[in-house]
Subunit: 355 residues, 5 copies
């Protein structure tokens, strides 16, 4: 039913493992093979590397203050399950990583925090990509469905040492990733704002039936956006109030800001949904108005000429004895009568403001 | 009113025992005779058996770590009431077992947990079957309305010793049953997604009045699905937070996952309900558009030809003194006048973009 | 506005005593004179009697474990106020007894529990009757508006000693009365289910304007039902959680069951309300579809014949010089032209799928 | 926008003192000059007097158990501000007294309780009048916008010593005033019930466009009523639970009754609002049905006679060579053909149930 | 999508700093350069000054009891960031100051309170301007987007020593600013009330399609107003209950009043939104009624004259053998027949109340 379903139907329709025991990691056969990339950094420097064997991550964790392990592609279950072992990630959480899409959420498994969030992009239709994130001590492990994301600003800040990210801990990195992800909701939202504006113009210019499909398409995508954004807010809120030493009070201040952003997204989203609903009503109303105008023209024309045509028909009859036909002024009299009827009708309709 | 009522009206219309004292077990005379099946298992092995006399279950409970007693068919109240005695099941709970359908719920009766859940399947229309479940110490007793269910994955995992089910307790079995049941909601949900997609295509292709019935049918079934899913979520939530030693903390982690699944079901369900409502509005809008187009054609034709026909009628009158009729260029002049009116009308309607 | 208002307008319009001090017992002059009936019972036996003077109840209370005093008819304020004195019932509660209808509720006045509930029946329209109930120690006092109620099952269970009612206390009797009352909501609900089904059939068979009135009537009665059922649920919930020694923990288990029943009623009620709303939309949609079909027929007929009639009119003109009229093949040529126009139009409309 | 705005636009549009410091008492220049009336009473007797100088109230307070100071008219700020000084009323509260309308509320200022409530009356349109009430020790001070109110029942009960009002304290007087005020909502509500009933009759009798305005007017007034009633309920609830020694537990029992009444008002109000919304939908539906019937008549007439008229037109052509015209049975044959077409059409429409 | 977006699209579309680290202050290049104005006051006197260098504020804070620093214009990030340093304002808060619009909120950063509020004005369309406010000890720092605001009443009260503002602290100034800001919502609200009244008149006078756009515009602006007002209420509520020594209990009493005002704004706003929605429904209903009337006229005319014209057409046929044509009374008989049909039709339609 959803917009992107048409493009990748097999993906969307994957139900949670039917029949397999919970925690079973069955990679989607169509998922891309994973690419593991590491960024390790401290206040002084940072180091990046692509990694083949998850075991190779251990020394980084010992040496660097913060290690960000990013995995693009969820295929090849073996690499992922070994990663899970290295960091002691819970089977149910790994299952949620691999069975996309999940609802946004934050869950605590022992001393690990697990978060699900969604990256949005507009490529004609609304595209979603799940970002699964573990905060495990000094390490942040993120899983994405495919290469390419909206997190480059964070990478640049780490590489160039901008802001306080290099001197802060793994919890701040978690915040920075979520915040960047949510900030990328705004351009998407603005695109919908423009679409609705364009649709309104079309509706007012009395476009045809295809505008209905477009309004509906926008409503559907806003509905989908909403289904992403509301759990996202709940998740960030629960992160904000989670009783865990993993998140420092200072980072909580930043998370509050992030919560604020997602609340703004939801505010605008709800407004847009209401505006889109109104558009449909407005369209119906304009169609009705127009039909009314059409009906009036038809009624005016028919009401004026039908009686006149009848009169002409009467004097077109071939009775032998129709004395009027032989009167000297018969023809002008009838023409005058018809003109009088015509003028009378026009006056009547003018009073009704139809003409 | 509901879809399946038409098929088995006597079933659905059974009110709770009118007049009988609470806890009275009156078997529905049309219900199937019960078939009692036992699966007893431990970390090492498992054993299955069909049982006639409920008393024969006792030795199993003493010997095996976990015993799952499954009853298919709710007829023949005697077997059921003796089962209730063996496990000390409360009369009110047994009443809910036999008077289907009940709302999904979790209730504690002494040291027994009682849960009601619903299995869904789509066989043209949405079919529901109540699964009643007791968690009583080492035993799990389940009651189903008829043979055939969606729980075979759990049976297979027990038989083949997959996952941690054989080494876990009766509370984990409870979780596994509920989780499997809820996972089977997803294919049903996807079926509705496809139906709505098909309906939307029909609406856009301007199908007739029968599409209205189909949209309504989908809305009604989604409403029914919703009435199943919301209490289900509440029930799992209360199971998650029930203060009882029957559920271990570890199983609660799994139940949280199960809660998550049912929340996703509800999310999608609400979206579908909204989309189905929009479909009706879209249908109305398309009908209006189409009527508008029809009206325009009629109006154009009538408005152009009615005056022309009138003019022709005038010169068809049989007055003796109609000088125009005798003019040399009378006929061509009138034809030219009518052509001019015709062209003028066309130009007018073209400007209005009706033609 | 409500359905039964038309039948007994004076009753419904009684505002709470305007001007009188609170607690004033002014009997409705049109109310029936009260008939006081006593059922006193214990584990061994039971005794029934009609009573004239409320004072005569005292010995029963001393002798029997439980006494149920039932009053049919709220007229003749004197008997009622003396009853109030015997049991020490609060003036505000007695006012609520006599000024029907009140909202369902449970209130504690000192060591007396006061409950208001509503009996429903369908006699063409939805009929309500208030049941006011006091639980005062060993006695349960119930007030009804008129003779005849749905509580006979409870009476039979007392008389025949079925179930545990004779061995339980007055709180269990309170539960049994409320439970029986709520169980009688189900047949009413089912009746509405059938009515909606019948209405849907009518809507689909394109019934006229009277179906609108009937849908509205159903919606109104469901609205009224809802206004009865929601406070009823709240009342039972507050009874369930009221901190009072009057209700034993065992009876609370039964009340939970009763709460469950009323929740099911509300579930179905809300579904029916939504279905009734959809029916109206469906009706509108079917009307629109039908109008569309009518319009198409009119447009096809008019669009085909109006130009043809015009052509015939042209050659019906009486100009002296109309060379076509004298051509040898003039008539067949014109007939052929008209046939061609006819066929062309048919082809055009067939392509548009109007014919 | 609101109903009564049209009558007294200057009143309604008064914003809260724009620019003036909070607590500034600027009397509305159009408000009536205040008239201060005192009723002082005790268990034994009561005394009434009109007072000019607020200082003259002091001795009454010392001598009598309860003093009710009622002020009609909010003009002449001086008298009011001196009253405020005598009883130590807070500036913000006095501002709310003078800047009507405020929302209903209960606020505690030191040892004074301040309540705002609204009296409703129906004089063609819904009229509101703010009642501001202070409970300050033994005194109750009420402010009304104009003379004439619905509180005479309370005055009569004080004068005639009916009920327990004379023996109770100032808190009971507060309750009695609020309760009387709310009891006067019921006749207004019933009036709306009757109006909706009348409107429904009109809608069913297919009244014209003016019924739309009336439905809307009712909806608007119910909306306004609702905006009065909801805060009123919250206010009484907060009065019920306010932790203050000013309200005795016994009076709280009475306030619970009052809360119950306002809840009933809201219940009915919400029902009426829904019924009014349905009325609009019903009206639209009836209009559509009627248009459908009109369209069918037009279509039947046009579809039957347009082809017949065409045939007549064909044989009215003046071609010289039209062999049919000279056939002996030409005229009867054509007449028969036309009769056949007529009958066929009638049969066709009868099958479609249009005739 | 929003009204003012069309005027200043670049402004509105600024997403939160995409990619920059949080707390980065990047001034909007199009924002005005800031103008810093100081009002320092105490019970005795007050002093005003324009300031260039934020450092120059320090001596004021030492000398005066309260200092209000107002900044108009958010351009030139340097001045703003130095201001932030002087008062120790948090980077995230300063970011919210510069990235307008934010949601209204109150946040505590260490010993500083940060509040966001919105000034509204109606200049054809609804205009918003963010007011950011810091309460830091004795200082209140406010930031506005452009010169000109609604806060002059507060300035005048400070300058002229009206009310208690000069003797109160910085928390009272905070209250006074917020209260004045919210009091200016009322004239805007009243303007919408009048607009809706005017629109209703237009709808009733059956205005054309442009009224739909205007209703929609009002709905959109009310939606925007609502998005301003709801968070504003939450913000004031959290200010009211914030556990901070910065707000004295006395000021809290005043804030409660302010909370009350914004609640009233929201009440009226919701009413207006509902009335605006109803207007659209009313418009549709009136259009339908009108179309119905038009259709009736057309149907009456067509139904009367189409059969008559057909009869005239029949006797206009040129068959040689049409005996009626030669009857002596043929013509009068036919004319009489047609008159009878005419009268019969009129009687029929009069009975249907169409004429």
């Amino acid at each position: 039913m959803e917009a992107h379903m048409r493009k990748r139907p097999q993906r969307k329709r994957r139900s949670p493992r039917l029949g397999a025991p919970p925690g079973t990691l069955v990679a989607d056969p169509q998922a891309r093979p994973p690419r593991v990339h590491i960024i390790a950094y401290g206040p002084e420097s940072c180091h990046e590397e692509d990694i083949e064997d998850p075991q190779a991550i251990r020394p980084f964790i010992e040496q660097w203050p913060v290690v960000w392990v990013n995995v693009d592609g969820l295929g090849g279950g073996e690499v992922l399950s070994r990663l899970g072992e290295v960091f002691g990630l819970h089977g149910l959480a790994m299952e949620d990583v691999m069975n996309v899409p999940q609802r946004a959420k934050v869950e605590q498994y022992g001393d690990t925090l697990f978060a699900v969030a969604h990256m949005l992009s507009l490529d004609g239709e609304l595209q979603t990509e799940q970002l699964s994130l573990f905060l495990a001590g000094k390490a942040v492990i993120t899983f994405q469905e495919r290469p390419g994301d909206c997190l480059d600003p964070v990478r640049n800040r780490i590489r160039q040492g901008l802001g306080r990210i290099r001197s802060a801990g793994a919890d701040y990195l978690t915040y920075a990733l979520l915040d960047t992800l949510i900030d990328h909701y705004f351009p998407v939202l603005e695109e919908y704002g423009e679409r609705l504006e364009a649709l309104e113009d079309q509706v007012v210019r009395q476009a045809g039936v295809e505008v209905v499909s477009q309004i509906r398409q926008s409503k559907r995508e806003l509905l989908m956006f909403r289904r992403i954004a509301w759990p996202q807010r709940d998740a960030i809120n629960s992160l904000l109030h989670e009783e865990t030493p993993l998140i420092t009070p200072e980072t909580r201040t930043y998370l509050r800001d992030c919560y604020d952003h997602v609340t703004r997204v939801i505010d605008v989203l709800e407004t847009y949904r209401e505006l889109a609903s109104d558009l449909m009503a407005m369209h119906l109303s304009i169609i009705s108005n127009q039909m009314n105008a059409v009906m009036k023209i038809l009624t005016v024309m028919a009401t004026i000429f039908i009686p006149l045509t009848f009169i002409a028909g009467v004097y077109g009859m071939n009775f032998e004895r129709m004395p009027e036909l032989k009167w000297r002024w018969g023809y002008p009299a009838i023409m005058f009568l018809m003109a009088a009827i015509f003028v009378g009708m026009i006056v009547y309709f003018r009073r009704k403001k139809w003409v």
